[in-house]
């Protein structure tokens, strides 16, 4: 659009067919509803030049049925409509500020129909319940907390108030005492549902006294559905992204090819600080141990290390070396994250890594001065949670995004 409006050059964009609704709606919302596209058969990658010449360049637009290149030429030469050269401002509205009165069943259906849920039943956000939630923070209901875009730089940002975050927190089933954590997540301004066709997942790492204050689980099954706080805080993050950030609209702001089950409640990781042999993650990011902090990660998700190293799972297991082997096999885009049980972390410490920094430096370096696999040691993150009843641990490709104080949202 900048090529059209700033450089004054007629432009046509080549887009694969499945992105039609996404690009047309996005262009309209960014100010150019008649931006011109030619759609081509998907996928483009993985094909030879000869295949692309035959199937795409000399083929037809699968949406319009017209020959691709003749359409391209037409879009650069067909005169514009009068409105296409006018500039003005349009105020968008998200719709009414309330729904009903209606029965609970009808309202549940309405919220599903409008795409305002994760398709699980919600707690209906009545004024009374939202007011209860709002009492858990000192911030005013109409204060702007932050803004989210389904993919920054590609989509517009939607902003949201403390009250709008509270509505989503109620819908998720969260208790009011969790609200400062949810507000801190909202303040990070990071979408939990990226528009990317990669089907990304988000993780929230929680440190500090808040973990015990609200009953976050960091023992057995720490990453599973075994705590009201873990479950509803994570769910609130997804609902907030869908509703307050306009994310997760299939074909418009969400294109994940496979989807990601972690998107239901995200990956909530309350660190087991008591049993970890190292400093908490938030302290390594500059916060004090008494600070309550949430840190956002994004990437592919996490999976048990047993999936990759089952053949060498033995009594004299070298955990650090296995971790290095796994990381050296991973995509570099998001770096590597390891979620170690306290027992595994203690073994790693005994192997000589008395700080996480020593471990990540060693994991980063390649033997014999070879070029390191990752771009920097900061791409490697180590977290500790779960119980010590066995030597299991998870790993994944997830990068650290940012940390936000929970205390400032109390």
């Amino acid at each position: 659009m900048d090529l059209e409006s700033n450089l004054g050059k007629p432009t046509v964009s080549i887009i694969t067919e499945y992105f039609k609704d996404l690009v047309e709606q996005n262009a309209a919302k960014k100010g150019m509803p008649d931006l011109r596209f030619t759609f081509v058969k998907s996928p483009v990658w993985g094909k030879t030049a000869e295949q692309l010449r035959r199937d795409v360049v000399e083929g037809t637009d699968p949406i319009t049925g017209k020959p691709v290149m003749q359409e391209v030429v037409a879009e650069l030469t067909t005169p514009l409509k009068d409105d296409d050269q006018k500039t003005r401002t349009i105020q968008q509205s998200a719709g009414p500020d309330h729904f009903g009165p209606d029965t609970a069943e009808n309202l549940q259906k309405l919220f599903r129909k409008k795409g305002m849920t994760d398709y699980l039943p919600i707690v209906l956000p009545t004024e009374a319940k939202v007011d209860q939630m709002l009492k858990a923070t000192s911030h005013k209901p109409d204060e702007i907390v932050g803004k989210i875009s389904p993919t920054p730089g590609v989509y517009e940002y939607w902003s949201y108030t403390v009250k709008q975050v509270a509505v989503n927190a109620v819908m998720a089933g969260a208790d009011p005492q969790y609200f400062p954590v949810i507000l801190a997540i909202a303040a990070a301004g990071k979408e939990s549902l990226s528009s990317s066709d990669n089907s990304f997942a988000e993780a929230v790492v929680i440190n500090g006294p808040i973990r015990d204050e609200i009953g976050l689980n960091y023992g057995i099954g720490a990453l599973g559905p075994f705590s009201h706080a873990n479950a509803t805080i994570g769910r609130a993050y997804t609902l907030l992204s869908i509703n307050a950030g306009n994310c997760g609209k299939i074909g418009e702001t969400y294109m994940g090819v496979i989807g990601n089950p972690a998107n239901y409640t995200n990956i909530v990781i309350a660190e087991n600080e008591k049993e970890s042999p190292w400093k908490p993650f938030s302290v390594r990011k500059g916060f004090k141990p008494e600070d309550s902090v949430v840190s956002i990660f994004e990437g592919w998700g996490v999976i048990s290390a047993k999936n990759s190293v089952f053949a060498v799972w033995q009594k004299d297991m070298n955990f650090a070396q296995e971790l290095k082997n796994i990381f050296n096999d991973q995509d570099q885009l998001f770096g590597g994250v390891a979620v170690l049980s306290p027992a595994v972390a203690s073994y790693v410490k005994q192997e000589g890594y008395d700080t996480v920094e020593k471990l990540t430096d060693w994991l980063y370096k390649s033997p014999d001065e070879a070029k390191p696999h990752f771009w920097s040691p900061a791409q490697i993150n180590i977290l500790v949670t779960g119980s010590s009843n066995n030597l299991y641990w998870d790993y994944g490709g997830m990068r650290y995004v940012k940390s936000v104080s929970i205390d400032q949202w109390r």
Partner: protein, 133 residues
């Protein structure tokens, strides 16, 4: 006479029961799920605040591409280079009077490339942008 009095007593007895019967019927209606009126709720919208849209002007179209320079810009999606070079070759075969110039934009797909934009502004007449994948 006695029987009339007895009848009157019976009528009075049932009349006196009337308020109780009404109350019983009301209670029955309340407890019968088939008759109960479902409560209704008013709920708040969870939606955030969309930004205002500033409509932008599109660039005027040309009457013909003959003698014009068209930049074919590849923003880096996998396979886009192969496709877009084939598009440039199509112009060579089918519209030889068009100067089709293939360029790979610097950075990732959402990144700006000011030197390339400056080059297009100075030398280009139109752009084909290879975005999708």
């Amino acid at each position: 006479m006695r029987s009339r009095f007895a009848s009157l007593l019976i009528v009075l007895f049932f009349v006196s029961l009337w308020p109780c019967q009404q109350a019983f019927a009301r209670e029955k209606k309340k407890s019968d799920p088939a008759i109960t009126v479902e409560p209704k709720f008013t709920v708040l919208s969870p939606l955030g605040i969309p930004p205002t849209i500033k409509l932008l002007a599109m660039a005027p179209r040309m009457n013909t591409l003959d003698g014009k320079t068209i930049y074919i810009v590849d923003d880096g999606f996998v396979g886009g280079d192969v496709l877009l070079k084939e598009m440039a070759a199509w112009f060579t075969r089918n519209m030889p009077n068009v100067n089709a110039v293939y360029r790979r934009k610097a950075g990732g797909f959402p990144d700006e490339d000011p030197p390339l934009w400056a080059e297009i502004k100075a030398k280009g007449d139109a752009v084909i942008m290879g975005v999708g994948h």
